[in-house]
């Protein structure tokens, strides 16, 4: 029994140690010294029109807030500072349905995928590109409101990636 507990604890600890995915950087670029970010409105490339709420607008606002939480100056700040421009696209968005997930887990999946390009404002040169996505296919009624919450989750991942790029130099 003791061994089982020890094994489970070790497994949990190791799971927490999973290294984040390395990010793509253009060869030779350095992110050192960038703390100001200009977030352009996300471009809707899903080919869909969203009637229930302004999905691209909400996603853009979410990213601005997440970046501010990480200590970035967003769309402003020091004029002398080196500025990163985020140009991004919403590639997939499915609002899904918590009710469908409750009735039959695996159906009513909520999905969101964005493609992000990070460029230097002065030179316009792209320094990094990455894709972030999230999908929720389970959780039933506990996932009510996931159609909006998923935007915060994906924006959070993008902010994390940018933070890692900058901290990584």
């Amino acid at each position: 029994m003791k061994n089982l507990c020890l094994g489970l604890t070790l497994l949990l600890v190791l799971t927490g140690c999973a290294a984040p995915r390395p990010l793509y950087k253009e060869p030779g670029v350095s992110f050192q010294g960038y703390r100001t970010v200009e977030v352009t409105p996300v471009v809707n490339e899903t080919g869909k029109v969203f009637d229930s709420f302004d999905v691209p607008g909400a996603l853009t606002e979410n990213l601005k807030n997440k970046l501010k939480d990480k200590g970035f100056a967003v769309n402003g700040g020091d004029r002398e500072a080196k500025v990163l421009v985020i140009k991004w696209s919403l590639m997939t968005y499915e609002p899904g349905s918590a009710l469908a997930r409750w009735v039959l887990p695996g159906t009513g999946v909520t999905k969101c995928t964005v493609k992000v390009a990070v460029a230097d404002k002065e030179t316009g040169k792209t320094m990094s590109e990455f894709v972030e996505s999230e999908s929720v296919g389970g959780g039933g009624l506990y996932t009510i409101g996931m159609d909006r919450r998923i935007l915060g989750s994906v924006a959070g991942k993008v902010a994390d990636d940018l933070d890692r790029l900058v901290k990584g130099g």
Binding site: A19, R21, P22, L23, Y24, K25, E26, P27, M91, T92, P105, G106, T107, V109, K111, T113, K115, E129, F130, V131, S133, S135, G137
Partner: protein
């Protein structure tokens, strides 16, 4: 009664084993986009191309992740697509050509589900003039694929993601003044 239970149990095990055996790997033919040679009018000028293997993992200079990825049969589909375009007189894998195409995986995200599977594929392509070492073209191409039970979930999604990626690549290369 007991023998009946054993019979059902055995039948279930056999069915399960048969179903597992039916899991087919992604097929190169399904991963190859229907590229018409007309996409590239005979503009190859007798140039040849060497296609390098897809670079993954920590070996690449940009430190791309390989974690959890399984990019199967990709190079075969890539070579097949490039041969179909007719852009190059010959497409090699082991022999040097006038140009070298270097694909490298940026990310490969799989979202498996009970009734559907979706895949995001993001690949960096670089076309290099072999003699001079000059980079002629580079671009990161993103594609998606999704499939339900009818198309084998992962298999169908993967084939579609690769097919869409290669279709974009063929279109981009066709517009290059080689």
């Amino acid at each position: 009664m007991q023998s009946k239970v054993i019979k059902y149990w055995l039948a279930a095990v056999i069915l399960l084993a048969a179903a597992a055996g039916c899991a087919i790997a992604p097929m190169v033919t399904e991963m190859t986009p229907p590229v018409a040679p007309a996409l590239a009018p005979a503009q190859s000028g007798g140039k040849t191309l060497q296609v390098m293997p897809l670079q993954e993992g920590d070996t690449w200079e940009t430190n791309i992740s390989k974690k959890g990825t399984k990019v199967e049969n990709y190079q075969e589909a890539l070579v097949r697509t490039l041969r179909q375009t007719g852009l190059f007189q010959e497409v090699f894998t082991t022999q040097a050509g006038d140009y070298m195409l270097k694909p490298a995986l940026i990310s490969f995200d799989v979202h498996p589900g009970t009734f559907s599977c979706s895949i995001n594929l993001f690949i960096n392509y670089r076309l290099i003039e072999t003699k001079s070492g000059r980079e002629v073209w580079k671009e990161n191409l993103y594609s998606q694929g999704s499939a339900g039970l009818d198309r084998g979930l992962y298999k169908g999604a993967y084939e579609e993601a690769v097919r869409n990626n290669l279709a974009q690549l063929a279109g981009k290369l066709a517009n290059l003044p080689l």
